[in-house]
């Protein structure tokens, strides 16, 4: 009868062991890989925003050259099609004037792109013959338009969301 109390004990032990091992492996997998995946996502978002920043800088260069050719009576409007979100998260663009800090001729700016999730910031430098302004302090990601505005004493490039 005493032997009857021990029947199926090994099955229970085996079951608990399996659960334990599965739990250990699963948690190890998740804990081990989560930072890697997060880092990869952040790096991907960063490099993609760098591409967008260079795309904007290239468009500024293009408009700058076209305005130089078109002269004071010219009209130049160039659209740059960027996605609204990067890595599934919205991002914003800010123009930072670095002209005063730079001794070289022309106007110097940093195009700063910021993503909230993952929190990433990218800066791309651009130089132009004409001053560059953004319509609002911070632009949203998405399609941008760069155009020349002729004022009485000078011409300037204005970048805005469309």
């Amino acid at each position: 009868m005493r032997q009857m109390d021990d029947r199926a004990v090994s099955t229970s032990v085996s079951y608990v062991l399996v659960l334990g091992i599965v739990a250990l492996l699963s948690s190890g997998l998740v804990v081990g890989f989560a930072p890697v995946v997060t880092d990869q996502q952040q790096e991907t978002v960063r490099s993609t925003m760098a591409v967008f920043g260079n795309d904007i800088a290239g468009s500024v260069d293009s408009v700058d050259r076209l305005v130089t050719k078109a002269g004071a009576n010219g009209t130049v409007e160039l659209s740059t099609r960027l996605p609204d979100r990067v890595g599934g998260s919205p991002y914003e663009i800010e123009l930072i004037n670095r002209t005063a800090e730079n001794g070289y001729p022309g106007y110097h700016y940093d195009i700063e792109l910021r993503s909230a999730d993952p929190e990433t910031t990218v800066r791309v430098r651009v130089r132009s013959r004409y001053p560059l302004e953004s319509e609002s302090n911070v632009l949203d990601g998405g399609t941008l338009q760069i155009e020349v505005v002729h004022e009485e004493s000078r011409s300037k490039l204005v970048i805005r969301n469309v």
Partner: protein, 320 residues
Amino acid sequence: MADLTVNSDDRGQLIIVAAIGLAILLTLMTVALNTAVYGEIHVAQTDDSLNEERSALQYHHSLERGGGGLIASLNREHDRYETLNSELEGAVVTWSNLSRSEQLREGATTNATLESVTYESRIVHRNESRTFVDRSENTDWNVAANVSDVRGFEANVTETDLVDTSDCTDNGSCFRLEVEGAEGNTWRLFVYDDGGVTVTVELASGANETYGPSGTSAKLNVTDGTVDGSETFTTFLEDDGSEAPYTLRYANADTVSGTYELTVDGKIVDGGIDDDERYGVADAPRIEARITAAAVRLRYRSPDLRYETETEIIPGETDG
């Protein structure tokens, strides 16, 4: 006997939790991969704005190159303001239509229209036996009024009809060319016979310079200031008291004969050349018009670029 049925509802919960965790990880990896792929694709597409810039600039350069050649060709074939203007206008429309169909293949619409034309006028008198009077035989007449520049003025005069005198500066009957500057100051050049063709230049200040006598004929270069290529005098262009725009006037033009040719900026008659009583096509002095520049408005529109400007086309001048 152990009761294994109590926890049978909880079986597999841990595995489900693990599976959900893995699914989240895989989703994040997919999003990261997708973002990376999108970034690569976007990199490949960023040439678009550069291509559009190149196309617009190419269109602009083509217009300048084509227009420059076109004007040079028209200047060789025509010499009337109206003909030059209408031919150029028609040619620009034709060029614009041809370019439009070409650009449409690239997804861009273009247009070029002639806005204005700038001329220069060559006034030519080649009948040696005729005096310098205008077509209507007026002896005192304006050769060109309010011109911004005189690019060349050469005359060959003979002593046949010249007034025989030793001093002309009293504004008597001698032939004189008067150039009145912007502020009303006048530079004068007298031609008379004082033992041969003699030239006296009176500056705006009133000072006189006399050259000659040169023989039975003399070659005057009014803009270079030379008599027979050697003796030099102060031209109205060099005279401090005389500034553009200039009005060139002949007085006593029946007292000089020979030939002359001068080129001035702009269109110097109000209507057509034939409608002006001063100029003709045969013996009388005639005008040969030339286009020196044309303003053309060009428009280039593609899905992402709008480029419009007015460009000045100068024959024989392209910056590549």
